[in-house]
Symmetry: C2
């Protein structure tokens, strides 16, 4: 029912192409997963997401628990029916949001007490509660509850988070009731400490999850730190399971993560940038608001095949952004997601064709990181 199939491996890097089989269809990896925090990928319809070949969406447990409430989603027939998206969905554990959005949270070994960022009401998340919520939401892939330490944190804090995350993962596995149609991934913590990562990975791998995520990265640490962690942490995860790098969505991180052997990525970056007026293009980021584009009849990206680039000029898009028009948010979001999905599709094909290192260099000519094994 849930199966990961390896299709091809890059001979020089750790990149690999695969297929994740789920009850709601297959996902070709490496894959970027657009984020639909509140049961909608901001500014996009599900039809548009299908148009650009989105294979799987992410939705946020923390947000949906607070609003509209997991019971309302369950009553609607689950998240897929609620939002009218019938391809795979992954829900996160809420761990990251509880620590980054929830106010004045109190962590104990039992769980986390936090205040809603919406109305200040008090809530308590335990591993069991988080599993229950994710079962009500009904995503195809769900995540074990983890403690995600901020950057920077002391070694002691990270160590305690690893221990808690391990215990919580075991409790999450135990609490599950929808074994037949939901796959649960474990989340490896450990910051940039190799021994702590190893400890976290070993414990989770022992529990035999069908997939593993690297958490606690892309939380503000320097790029070199993340790349360093990736260079040794990915190998701690079983090769025959999908590996998911959480919170990553820029072209450099996506392709470098792919080179290090990761299969799944998610980030609000492309949608957030779309709403704030920045386009991700083959020539780098374009700040659409800049006066330079006021009379530019050319597209955002002349190498892009999306409907925004074929239908609209930079001059028009700049006007929409300056006038704060919803259509500006929509068109830039659409382009940014299309761009990243095409980037990953191209990376996958390059892995299959045995040309991934060339693809990598062509897209990131200036990236200085050792991606070769």
């Amino acid at each position: 029912m849930f199966k990961f199939e390896l299709i091809a491996r890059c001979p020089r890097t750790s990149a690999r192409a695969g297929v994740i089989h789920t009850p709601r269809g297959t996902i070709e990896t490496p894959v970027f997963m657009p984020v639909g925090t509140q049961a909608t990928v901001k500014a996009m319809t599900v039809n548009e997401l299908m148009e650009i070949n989105t294979q799987i969406l992410l939705a946020n447990t923390y947000h949906l628990y607070l609003r509209p409430g997991a019971d309302i989603v369950a009553e609607a027939g689950g998240l897929h029916r609620f939002m009218n998206w019938h391809r795979p969905i992954l829900t996160d554990s809420g761990g990251f949001q509880v620590f980054s959005l929830g106010d004045s949270n109190k962590i104990t070994d039992d769980g986390v007490e936090f205040q809603s960022h919406i109305d200040g009401s008090r809530h308590f998340f335990t591993p069991e509660k988080v599993v229950d919520i994710q079962e009500q939401l009904g995503a195809d892939i769900i995540m074990a509850f983890d403690q995600c330490p901020p950057w920077p944190s002391t070694r002691e804090f990270v160590q305690a988070a690893v221990q808690r995350t391990t215990q919580w993962a075991a409790r999450c596995r135990q609490a599950r009731t929808r074994l037949e149609d939901q796959a649960m991934f474990g989340i490896v913590q450990g910051g940039n400490h190799r021994d702590l990562r190893q400890q976290s990975a070993d414990a989770l791998v022992d529990m035999d999850f069908p997939g593993y995520a690297l958490g606690g990265l892309s939380v503000g640490e320097p790029k070199e730190v993340m790349y360093d962690v990736l260079s040794w942490a990915v190998d701690m995860l079983p090769a025959e399971k999908p590996r998911y790098l959480m919170g990553v969505g820029s072209p450099d991180y996506l392709l470098t993560g792919t080179a290090f052997g990761l299969d799944m990525f998610d980030c609000v970056l492309p949608t957030r940038m779309g709403r704030t007026g920045t386009a991700i293009t083959s020539q780098g980021n374009v700040v659409v608001r800049n006066a330079a584009h006021a009379r530019d009849s050319g597209p955002l990206d002349s190498q892009c095949g999306c409907s925004v680039c074929s239908g609209y000029s930079r001059a028009y898009l700049r006007h929409l952004v300056k006038a704060n028009e919803i259509l500006g948010h929509r068109l830039l979001t659409y382009h940014n997601l299309y761009f990243l999905l095409e980037l990953m599709k191209g990376a996958r094909q390059a892995i299959i064709d045995g040309t991934f290192p060339d693809y990598y260099r062509q897209h990131l000519p200036l990236e200085e990181v050792e991606i070769y094994r």
Copy 2:
């Protein structure tokens, strides 16, 4: 090149069905024109507008003059190319906006000095300037510059506005250079004073415009006042020219305006209501935010054939509205426009079929206005 063809007349009311021929295609009347103030119908793409059979859009001279500037639109090849909409467009005269949005405006017989609502900069609109701007924008139908008095105004003020509007209309006709591909409509003022309306209409009809608008209505006056004016003012306009009621977009005003013999209507109402969370339905307005819809798995309008009503529940739409998601604005806007365009399409067919009075009563069972001739 520009021609109005009458197809059918209702035997009992003044309603009529027609076709406006323009260089960019035909418009079947009566017609509701969605408003694209800043060269975009808020929250909609041009593809979605075509999907719901939008025949003609309105865009605002005042707004586009201030931002991005008529020169930038002209450089982009005109409004159609700029916004990627290749069906007919009508631009208004800017008169209404100068008086309602522009700060501290000073009216003289020569024109209006006003301050931009965006940056406070000072500008001067004359009839000649307004024609020049509209020629740069390049709409298929353009409007003569008018003085639109607020409600309420003294008779003296309305009288002066009529005189100025008449003089300005003559100057607008004179100033035109794009005679071959733009049709200019005159705007009748006169408030609710029958003699002033007659005076205004007579003067404009003498100038032989290819179409006429009733201005100065839907500016805050009671419904009975508007209906009273419509009951005698429409007959002051030539039957063989299209008649346009400005600023009207609710089902009751649209169908009653149609019954009184008007052919064209525009209003921001359906798009604004969409963004503020209200749906126009066959059962009246639905405030989507209301708690009553929290667990309602039904559509906005069970009689509506739009993709929003077939794909999404009230529960989901309420969640989107409460979470202030762009998708909520999008879906409600889409539904509202679809609803009004279908309403007008049905009215037109009923006129052709000779059943318009039934159609009117069926849609407005409680409306108390004498629509029969």
